[in-house]
């Protein structure tokens, strides 16, 4: 894998992986909530027009229809932005999909503050909402390799899945032989001082932060947690037990997402490790022309992960500074 930014990027890894899966699985249907190109399913529409259902801007109807289709042997993949996929039709997800435990895949793009479109377009609570729903699997990946592997992996999950995906240029962090597991979190490295747990777009920030901390003499490990529910408790417990302090990093509210999930486990285990949660600190995110500005303003930058680890360890003096990464066009680096 590539441990440090900038990363090369690719376009439409989800759209391509989805078409590939649909070639093998005839029961797959594609539902769109009027964001077809934005959710990369123009590729599917071109190849399988008879299996493409345009539901229009009507998320509640779209989700309930998907549930009924799933009862009759189809596997609907529902697409829109994450914010519209989870907030608007929450009741429909619960009653028409999750309670009957149907294999509907809800694919929500544009997570957290990756959208400069204002609070109406920012899915800052989608993980929390979906995590609270019984039977739901919740996945947050941002690397193109994991996206490709995750699409294939979720096809066989018996119940519903919420898949949270970055929109647009997708970094390639992992090599092609990377293993993605729905059951196991991925220990990238072990750290005796601090373990950084990261999901989705914050993985690259955690990797960069670990490097900065290591350069400053801190033993920092990284655990990649793409599957937030069901959480791999054993890996979280083992990593937490091996470190003096813990940091979670998520492109989401710190309430109800990865940070909460990790906190619950370490509290239940009585591990007593100090925990810092990097994410949106119970706030909406306003006023941006671009996403990186929001990551910086709201404390989701690499430096914020470094600072969180530094303070959790009670280190003296100022935290080491994360290098500013120059990102050529077409490449990706965390803020």
């Amino acid at each position: 894998m590539r441990n440090l930014p900038p990363y090369p990027t690719v376009l439409k890894p989800y759209g391509r992986a989805f078409v590939e899966l649909a070639r093998r699985r005839r029961e797959i249907l594609c539902l769109s909530g009027d964001l077809t190109r934005q959710t990369e399913i123009d590729l599917f529409q071109e190849e399988f027009p008879d299996r493409f259902i345009h539901a229009g801007m009507a998320e509640a109807n779209m989700i309930s229809m998907a549930g009924a289709l799933a009862r009759r042997g189809f596997m609907p993949f529902v697409h829109t932005f994450g914010v519209f996929a989870t907030r608007r039709p929450l009741d429909q997800i619960i009653n028409s999909v999750a309670y009957p435990k149907l294999p509907v895949r809800i694919v929500g793009f544009m997570p957290g503050v990756s959208s400069p479109g204002g609070p109406s377009h920012q899915a800052i609570d989608d993980v929390a909402l979906m995590r609270a729903v019984p039977n739901m699997t919740v996945i947050d990946v941002a690397d193109a390799t994991e996206i490709t592997l995750a699409v294939a992996a979720i096809a066989d999950v018996p119940g519903p899945v919420y898949l949270r995906l970055k929109r647009g240029e997708i970094p390639v962090i992992f090599d092609e032989d990377h293993e993605f597991s729905l059951a196991h979190a991925h220990v990238v490295s072990r750290g005796q001082d601090v373990t950084l747990f990261a999901s989705g777009m914050m993985l690259s920030a955690a990797l960069a932060a670990a490097q900065t901390l290591s350069d400053a003499g801190v033993s920092a490990g990284v655990v990649n947690v793409p599957v937030i529910k069901p959480l791999d408790r054993a890996t979280v417990i083992a990593a937490a037990a091996g470190s003096r302090a813990l940091v979670t990093a998520e492109n989401h509210s710190i309430i109800g997402g990865l940070g909460s999930a990790v906190a619950e486990v370490i509290a239940e285990e009585g591990l007593g490790r100090r925990l810092r949660r990097v994410g949106l600190n119970d706030t909406f995110a306003e006023g941006a022309q671009n996403a990186p500005w929001l990551f910086k303003k709201y404390g989701l930058a690499t430096q914020d992960v470094v600072d969180a680890a530094w303070s959790a360890l009670d280190r003296e003096g100022p935290a080491p500074l994360a290098p500013v990464v120059v990102t050529p066009p077409g490449e990706y680096a965390p803020v």
């Binding site: 008879d50 259902i53 509640a60 109807n61 309930s64």
Partner: protein
């Protein structure tokens, strides 16, 4: 139509009422009014529209599940003895429909979702080449206050899901009182027609009128809605004036009177 056929369906409607009284009686209260209003609509649908094992039935308002339970024995989808467990601890027959509810394809307690579910079943039928399959959705007029119903109505109209029939129990009853006192739904038929549906606005306690509307709905080249104008007290004269139609209280002598009235009429 032959008068015996009409009488048969009227008797079937009263059987639904009788079963509902017996299911609700041990509890002293329950969703009896929903059966009193929808009895003829459902009796006609079960006699002349719905084919068990072939067609789909969605009961959108979950508290109407009692009318499906009541019809279950004749449809061969439920053992009559099981009706005694209605609403009791540990029963599969919960008072508000669940995933355990027999008889129906889908039900739901959170209102306004059932029509969308019916459309999903209709899409599944279309994608699977089951062009003769009929998709019935029992919907209440109060549910028309939910926006999702109209999302679904738009979708069905656009996609011409002509195997969908909405059985709309327009009983003008919701929790806080008459629907018409809370939200103006009229003109109901014109609304559905403007969404691309065929609408049949009939007296929902007139078996012959319902039968004719059902035949036309099934033949319609568009999705169809039967707007059954009903009341939550029809068919049970012994009920006191002003009984709360959404959640009728019934106990003691009133139960005996209700059962006697229905048994006499069915004799």
């Amino acid at each position: 139509m032959q008068s015996t056929r009409i009488e048969e369906m009227q008797r079937a409607a009263d059987l639904l009422r009788l079963r509902a009284v017996r299911m609700v009686a041990p509890h002293g209260f329950g969703y009896l009014g929903q059966v009193l209003s929808s009895a003829e609509l459902m009796a006609v649908t079960f006699a002349e529209g719905f084919r068990p094992g072939v067609d789909e039935l969605v009961v959108s308002p979950g508290h109407y599940i009692i009318v499906a339970y009541a019809a279950g024995p004749e449809l061969g989808l439920l053992d009559e003895a099981q009706l005694e467990s209605y609403g009791r601890d540990g029963s599969a027959l919960e008072a508000i429909g669940t995933e355990s509810s027999p008889v129906v394809s889908i039900t739901g307690g959170s209102l306004g979702q059932g029509l969308s579910s019916a459309l999903g079943l209709a899409l599944a039928a279309r994608l699977s080449g089951r062009s003769e399959q009929r998709i019935f959705a029992l919907v209440s007029d109060g549910e028309l206050e939910e926006g999702q119903v109209w999302e679904a109505a738009l979708f069905a109209g656009h996609h011409v899901l002509d195997n969908v029939v909405v059985l709309l129990d327009a009983n003008d009853s919701q929790v806080d009182g008459p629907v018409s006192s809370i939200t103006t739904l009229e003109p109901i038929a014109a609304k559905w027609e403007s969404f691309g549906w065929s609408a049949f606005d009939v007296d929902g306690h007139d078996v012959a009128a319902l039968s004719e509307a059902l035949a036309q709905a099934l033949a319609s080249p568009r999705p169809a809605v039967i707007i059954a104008r009903t009341s939550t007290s029809t068919g049970l004269h012994c009920l006191p004036e002003g009984a709360d139609g959404h959640f009728i209280k019934i106990s003691g002598e009133l139960i005996d009177a209700a059962i006697a009235e229905l048994e006499v009429r069915r004799a």
